[in-house]
Amino acid sequence: MSYLSIKHLSSSVVDFSLKDINLEIDKAEYFVLLGQSGSGKTRLLEAIAGLYKSRGSIFYKEDEISKMNPEHRDIGFVYQDFALFPNMNVEANIIFAGRYREIENKEEHFRDIVDFLDLQNLLERSISDLSGGEKQRIAIARAIYAKPKILLLDEPLSAIDPTFRNSIMKKLKEIHRRYDLTTIHVTHNFREASYLADKIAIIMDGSIEQIGSPDEVLNHPKTIEIAKFLGFKNIFSTGLLDQESKADYFSVDPNLIRIVKEQSDCCDYSFEGEIEECMGITDHFKLFVNVDGYQFFIKIPKRDYENCLSQSKQSVTIGFNEQDVAYL
């Protein structure tokens, strides 16, 4: 049995429901739950933590924890807005769990967390005087101090200044390894997911749509909806390629479609089309080309073209290679 096993979990409120969620998460795995806003990510985390009533079972190793109250599940939770207790200073926030739980070597553990997350100078501070990044470190410290079996992170990077996101992602990975955590991290950002995840699950409208390794999920989405959510562009019927295929649809990265200047120059697949629009964006042009009613979106570097191919209705040949086609 997995370290954490979720079986047929469902939960309903007036206008939303989690539908038959099944997940298997291994020990020390960094599991990313990827989904759009309103897809049920936070609700699923809260159901796992026991903060919402749900049907189905949750097993930690062999033990069923789904019947336990949240305070007995040993699951750490870090909310998107960190939910630090305003009536306590930083230190009291971090050691809050120590009031209610036996924590082994708590002095040493506390010092280790404070040193590792560089919180020494913040301990006496009030919560209202902290930046987003500081609040995040304290919320993580508070969760880790309780020595949870599983750490749940609800969009922990969304309230962070984008400049610091990369360094914080790195830190999250370090925390996960250092404290031997099993982490479930919820996000809508697939770049964040691809960096952090050992395994990714896509959640849409309360259902898990796909689970797999980052490469499997991010490069081979099972459905068009997942592909669109993951930012795939140029999704068309495979009929356009005039070939037999197991897949019904394919997608091509806009950066890998070329404007064909000479026929010998190109390509496994090439098409005649008409330019519908060309937009100049900092270092590239965005080109929209109509091929028999299908609109291709192409990005071409400005260094390759002096001016936008701006003549509307101008004919153009576009092409791409088989190796750049992703079948859906």
Binding site: E46, A49, G50, L51, N69, P70, E71, R73, I75, G76, F77, Y79, D81, A83, F85, P86, N87, F96, A97, R99, Y100, R101, R142, A143, A146, P148
Partner: protein, 260 residues
């Protein structure tokens, strides 16, 4: 003073209207102290009947407040946190005492806790409401509890439920969460509501006089002296209770701000 708009006519209109209401609210209070004179004020402070009535009023109002903190905070929390059938009706019921005449409230309390089955039930435990401190307490509590309950309800609504959820995941059971997170983070509103309730209790007259004439609370004593001896005998008592109330109010505010 920084004004929102640089329009003299508008600003002058605001200031003049504000001065009228401030004048109306403050002058009678100032007049009470200035008009009474220091000799009569000192005599009132030395008057044993006055002091014991002030202490009785403050003490019983405090009991009423403590009772409503114990029973009203859970009610306020239930209303703030949960949706349930009849919630709007319950909120309206809590507000009713604010709207009804106080003498009518006294009659309602007398017909409930006087010579009735419920009154007899409490008598069995040695608690009588007619002519006792318990009677003063229920009269004060009935009319001033909504101030505390409503303020606490607003305070609990301002506490992010995620704080309570996180506290649960950190090992605190719902009771501990209530005392460690919910109440401390709603404390400003709770303290304001408690002070408001306590001070409304001090001033309660209409309902108290119907249930309990003796022992006399300060408002009853003021009325008694006014009807028996006239304004010059009642005004010093009124000045003393206003002074005491303001002093206690300021001390509690100071302590509350220190803890913030």
């Amino acid at each position: 003073m920084k004004l929102a708009y640089k329009n003299d006519t508008f600003n002058i209109t605001l200031i003049v209207l504000a001065i009228i209401i401030v004048f109306f609210l403050s002058v009678p209070i100032l007049k009470m102290f200035v008009g009474v004179g220091s000799d009569k004020l000192i005599d009132a402070i030395k008057d044993g009947e006055v002091i014991s009535s002030i202490l009785l009023t403050m003490k019983v109002s405090l009991w009423a407040m403590v009772f409503v903190i114990i029973t009203g905070l859970p009610l306020a929390y239930l209303i703030a946190r949960y949706d349930f059938f009849g919630k709007s009706f319950l909120e309206a019921v809590i507000d009713i005492p604010i709207m009804i005449p106080h003498t009518a409230a006294g009659i309602a309390l007398l017909s409930t806790f006087g010579d009735t089955g419920l009154g007899d039930f409490f008598k069995f435990f040695g608690i009588e409401f007619i002519g006792t401190e318990y009677g003063i307490m229920i009269a004060m509590m009935f009319l001033s509890a909504p101030f505390l309950i409503n303020a606490a309800k607003d305070g609990f609504r301002k506490v992010d439920p995620k704080l309570e959820k996180v506290a649960r995941t950190l090992g605190a059971n719902p009771f501990r969460v209530f005392f460690a997170i919910s109440i401390p983070n709603a404390r400003k509103d709770i303290i304001n509501g408690a002070l408001m309730m306590w001070s409304r209790g001090l001033g309660e007259f209409g309902a108290v006089i119907i249930l309990v004439y003796h022992p006399m609370t300060t408002p009853v004593l003021i009325f008694d002296r006014f009807s028996s001896y006239g304004l010059s005998y009642s005004a010093p008592v009124a000045a003393v209770i206003i002074g005491f109330s303001a002093l206690v109010f300021l001390i509690i505010r100071f302590i509350a701000n220190r803890f913030d």
